[in-house]
Amino acid sequence: MARMKFLCDAERCIECNACITACKNENDVPWGINRRRVVTLNDGEPGEKSISVACMHCTDAPCQAVCPVDCFSTTSDGVVLHNKDMCIGCGYCFYACPFGAPQFPQNEAFGVRGKMDKCTYCAGGPETADGSAEEESKYGSNRLAEGKLPLCAEMCSTKALLAGDSDQISQTFTSRVMQRGGRPDTWGWSSAYGE
């Protein structure tokens, strides 16, 4: 069975943020919610690396484990989805997620956060009919049902962000690493990491 994953090749990511706007575009994500973000470490210094991060659709998903209403489910493709009807907006998934993926549309006093929103791997929602208007308005698009991969990865400017079956993308990544000689060969790497 396929297990869908994301993998970001830090050697190729240039922080162009296409993944972010592609996500906004495909899923009509409003201002203030970022299902995906790019983080640049050592910004402006030797050894700078950018990595695009969103929900990683973990196999043993912490969000799923801590959700008090058990609204998360993993699809047969390995995509972690959550049911917005059930979500009570408690924020536990946000506490648990190592990647900061869960987003909340509101942030108001008395714990009012609204329904959690996160990357759906462009696979819609768990309870809605594939590609229905309801699904689109509630969760965004369902590309997986159409046989397509998440738009962020599909539109990545340098193909740094890979999406697909975990075996396949790790194979792609490994072959790139082999081609590069296994070791990043960029200016300043040695000074940044003392090699």
Binding site: N34, L41, P62, V66, P68, G100, A109, Y193
Partner: protein
């Protein structure tokens, strides 16, 4: 007189010191219970990270750095968005799911079993001898109102909190996920909103009751005898016995923790850091669970456990016999007497004058 005065002062300060010692020991123990499991999880994480460093990939150091919570630049303006990977959520998950939940459940179960066992074994504490029929004012209207406000809000918050913590395991099999989600949503809203009256009432209860809950010399003996729970004795006690004082202080400390952590948790608009929220959540659930567990004991004592106690908090008045038996020193104080020298040893020996109308005591 001078001598005796000196003696009293000495005794008083010794007593104070002892009380303080008891208090601090108690706080320390409580802290240990709460914090003891945490280092274990830190150590677990360390081992995982250490494993990574042995590989040859130069990127491992880099990823290690990221896992440590290294932060970078991002266009996302949410707080901590620059933090690529934050492991602390995992610690929280393990603490909440594998430590706090099961131990909390065990603790509550233990108390329930203990109380039930005690009830079956010893039955309720009855007032020994005849009720005098004479009532003495124990709780004024303010006390009673505030007590019940706190009690009711605490009860509702406890139930809703427990549902949020254990509902997934206990109630989903009964109601199904959709059914439970509605209940959980209701519980969350109730829990978030009721926090305010609870917090206000708790403070309004604690402050006026402080003076009656200072530990005094007789409390040691009371504790030593476990309040006579097992030997049927009636150790001396002021208005509140040592057990009630411990409950009071637990409630004060635990309640403060609950309120502070709760306020931080329901104020996402103030954008507290994730680690703060995680820490607050742990404090909140641990203190909540302990208070819930202990409150079961209190509820037992205040209802079927001790005959007359419940009525006392409803009507505000207790039978003088009851008062003499359970709170001899207070009773004596109310009667305007010096504490009888031997009263400490045995409440039985004290036999207060009955039928004296002092304004505080009225015939029923």
């Amino acid at each position: 007189m001078l001598n005796s005065e000196n003696n009293t002062t000495d005794e008083g300060s010794r007593r104070k010191r002892r009380n303080r010692r008891i208090l601090w020991t108690f706080v320390a123990m409580w802290m240990i219970v709460v914090l003891a499991p945490i280092p274990g999880y830190f150590m677990t994480t360390d081992t995982v990270q250490a494993k990574g460093e042995f590989t040859d990939n130069p990127r491992s150091a880099y990823w290690g750095e990221i896992r440590q919570g290294g932060s970078g630049y991002t266009t996302d303006r949410a707080p901590e968005a620059g933090n690529l990977v934050n492991d602390s959520g995992e610690i929280w998950r393990v603490l909440r799911n594998d430590t706090i939940s099961p131990y909390g459940a065990w603790l509550i179960a233990f108390i329930l079993v203990a109380v039930a066992g005690y009830f079956m074994f010893a039955g309720p504490m009855k007032v020994e001898g005849e009720l005098s029929g004479t009532k003495i004012k124990r709780w004024n209207l303010y006390d009673r109102c505030i007590h019940w406000i706190v009690a009711v809000t605490f009860f509702v918050m406890s139930i809703s909190g427990l549902i949020l913590l254990y509902g997934r395991a206990v109630l989903i099999p009964l109601f199904g996920r959709e059914g439970f989600a509605g209940l959980a949503m209701f519980c969350k809203d109730v829990h978030d909103l009721l926090g305010i009256p609870f917090a206000v009432a708790l403070v309004m209860m604690i402050l006026p009751w402080l003076k009656d809950n200072m530990f005094r010399s007789e409390d040691a003996e009371w504790l030593a005898k476990s309040g006579g729970m097992f030997d049927g004795s009636h150790p001396s006690s002021g208005k509140n016995n040592a057990g009630e004082k411990i409950w009071f202080w637990l409630l004060t400390i635990g309640g403060t923790v609950l309120i502070v952590s709760g306020v931080i948790l329901v104020m996402p608009n103030l954008e507290p850091l994730r680690n703060t929220m995680i820490t607050m959540h742990i404090l909140h659930s641990v203190s909540g669970l302990i208070l819930i567990a202990v409150s079961l004991g209190h509820t037992y004592m205040g209802s079927i456990g001790v005959e007359g106690a419940f009525n006392g908090m409803v009507t505000g008045e207790v039978d003088t016999a009851w008062a003499k038996q359970h709170h001899d020193l207070w009773y004596a104080e109310q009667m305007g007497e010096e504490a009888p020298a031997k009263a400490k040893k045995s409440a039985k020996s004290s036999s207060g004058p009955a039928g004296l109308s002092t304004g505080k005591v009225s015939a029923s």
